[in-house]
Amino acid sequence: MTTSVPESEVRVPLDANALRKIRRSWIKGRGGVKKAAFMPRENGNDRDGLSVSIETPDLAETHRAHFDSGSFCACVVSAFQVRNLTLEIVLAPEDFDPAHALITGIPDRTLGSEELARAERFAEKLAEVATEYRFPTP
């Protein structure tokens, strides 16, 4: 899975909710989310940003099919929470998901231990504000 680079960065509105597909095993017992859900991969595939989809009522069924299956589920963070961490969230539409977006500003962990430490910190902070997402019943 690779993320796409937005051609022109369109900031997501502050009141938007960003859904991130994660392993169900990354949900904590009390509904919180583990840090691993937001750690960029070490091969650099998340250099452009962490993939999310903006919660969109018209795309709920598409997102449910993509996010909520078998050993996977979705967690949610708000654009406000993301920006509050000094990160950015920008639209990066894809053919199969026009609401696709990227959380950007996380340091490239492959550059060194300082960047790795900061990437760990951002993952920790994103996980602290994230919660498990339950799709509305149709």
């Binding site: 899975m1 583990k34 691993a36 750690m39 070490e42 050993s71 430490a117 760990e120 920790e124």
Partner: protein, 194 residues
């Protein structure tokens, strides 16, 4: 070696029932998913599941109750590592099952905590990330201490630790570093370890 009966009074809640608290001169053998065996002033440790797959029988000295708690935490880490060992190899995100070298590194470091006799709290989480790195997390209050053991043998394990204001990575795995980090985690030193 004689098998002692479990003590009649209930042990502290954080200690599994099969780990009895007795004076260090008493022989004790615990039977359960994980076992803690105390013989005189020695403490024999063998995670039962781990023992089935790895004929390793480790010998450490039981110095205090703190080391019993560390032992309990270690046993729980071993139990969860055994589960990860049989996890699916990968999914669409990447690796799930950790490598043998990552498991060995996690075992070595967590066992050294018991060896040193540190008061380690019960582990909060043992899991892998999408790179197959093992992440072992302990938390007390706002202080978090995480051991990360990467999948690739060429990559060094590291500690990531943080509180509300600070965060840091530490690659050194010496006993001195362990003592400093665990003392900080337990709130025995307030200064953030540098």
């Amino acid at each position: 070696m004689t098998i002692a009966e479990r003590q009649q009074t209930a042990p502290p809640a954080e200690v599994p029932s099969y780990v009895a608290i007795r004076p260090p001169t008493v022989e004790l053998i615990g039977i359960g998913p994980d076992s803690a065996l105390v013989v005189d002033n020695w403490l024999w440790l063998s995670g039962y599941v781990h023992h089935l797959t790895h004929p390793l029988f480790a010998l450490v000295t039981a110095r205090n109750v703190g080391s019993v708690l560390a032992l309990t935490s270690y046993s729980e880490v071993q139990r969860q590592l055994a589960g990860l060992r049989i996890a699916p190899e990968a999914d669409e995100f990447g690796r799930i099952r950790p490598s043998d070298s990552a498991i060995a590194a996690a075992t070595r470091v967590t066992f050294s905590i018991v060896q040193v006799g540190l008061e380690m709290p019960m582990v909060e989480d043992v899991s892998t990330d999408s790179d197959g790195a093992i992440r072992i997390l302990w938390t007390i209050g706002g202080r978090k201490l995480e051991l990360v053991c990467p999948f690739q043998p060429s990559q060094r394990p590291y500690w990531y630790y943080s509180d509300a204001q600070d965060f840091r990575i530490e690659y050194e795995q010496s006993r001195d570093v362990l003592r400093r980090l665990v003392a900080w985690l337990n709130g025995k030193t307030t200064a953030f370890p540098r």
